[in-house]
């Protein structure tokens, strides 16, 4: 990974998915360092929340991508959001969303980068029938 890229978001979710998504982003774009993976595996409710809080504080990021809207990572992120003004949570994370996000210019307002990534991710879901 390119160490010159500053972290911009946390990718939180189940099992190996966060690591896998970040690895895939890095393989395709070389910008995996913009994302910090965080798995809920083996963690209780409080540990997931404190883990997220620690990562947000350590890296100074304001965006958390999560997988399931009702999953434990999302619920923990919502707890953090409750007392963290400016934090943004994006559920249903996908490779398309993350790839768009890491290519947003560093000076683009983070709200705009998130909105654009969500739009691109939605449009990347297509059903192909032969």
């Amino acid at each position: 990974m390119d160490s010159g890229i500053a972290p911009r978001a946390i990718v939180a979710g189940h099992g190996a998915l966060p690591d896998g998504l970040v690895s895939a982003v890095d393989q395709i774009t070389g910008r995996g360092n913009a994302l910090i993976p965080f798995s809920n595996t083996g963690l209780g409710r409080e540990e997931i929340e404190s883990g997220l809080r620690d990562l947000l504080a350590l890296h100074g990021v304001k965006v958390v991508f999560t997988d399931l809207p009702g999953g434990s990572a999302t619920l923990a992120a919502r707890r953090v959001l409750h007392d963290t003004p400016g934090l943004m949570i994006v559920t249903g994370v996908s490779l398309a969303a993350l790839m768009d996000f890491v290519f947003c210019a560093p000076d683009m307002p983070i709200e705009q980068a998130v909105a654009r990534a969500v739009d691109r991710a939605r449009s990347a879901i297509v059903s192909l029938v032969v």
């Binding site: 083996g42 409710r45 997931i48 009702g70 434990s72 619920l75 919502r78």
Partner: protein
């Protein structure tokens, strides 16, 4: 319809509960038994957001759940009773208006005072005592995180070896 599953899970409502068990059991509702959540509108809103629109969540204290369990068990839909601790589940099994024959330990995660029993079950001595007591009053206590995983009998929870 009888309650399909009595589950202890310290994450309360999350993916394994709503999707992992909820879909194969065709759950229509979850009874979340937790005194703290019952007293907090914000916590209840948080957990409601975690379930699909076709699934209801009822929040209740352990004492009220024990009294009202027959009402939930007579619902025409499949239901799950969910607690965050074995202490709460023991209180429910002791005081329930209808007998509870089986309890599923679904997830009790690492804490400094706990010893690992299974990949997803860590227990301290007090929690082990609660599980023993449930077994002594006739409850079949097993551990199983998701329906497709093996169900571990009581001896795997109290034997001391991490599986």
């Amino acid at each position: 319809m009888p309650i399909a599953l009595y589950r202890v899970d310290d994450r309360l409502i999350h993916g394994q509960v709503v999707v992992g068990w909820g879909q194969p059991l065709d759950l229509g509702f979850i009874v979340l038994v937790d005194d703290a959540v019952t007293e907090s509108d914000w916590e209840q809103e948080l957990y409601r957001l975690g379930v699909p629109p076709n699934m209801d969540v009822y929040f209740t204290s352990a004492a009220d759940a024990a009294r009202e369990i027959a009402k939930y068990a007579s619902d025409s839909r499949m239901g799950m009773v969910l607690t965050g601790t074995v202490e709460t589940m023991l209180e429910l099994t002791r005081n329930s208006a209808i007998p509870i024959s089986a309890v599923n330990i679904g997830g009790i995660h690492h804490r400094d005072d706990r010893t690992q029993k299974l990949r997803y079950v860590f227990l301290n001595e007090a929690e082990e005592r609660c599980i023993r007591e449930m077994a002594e009053i006739g409850v079949d206590v097993t551990a199983q995180d998701v329906p497709s995983a093996p169900s571990h009998p009581l001896k795997d929870l109290l034997g001391g070896d991490a599986g």
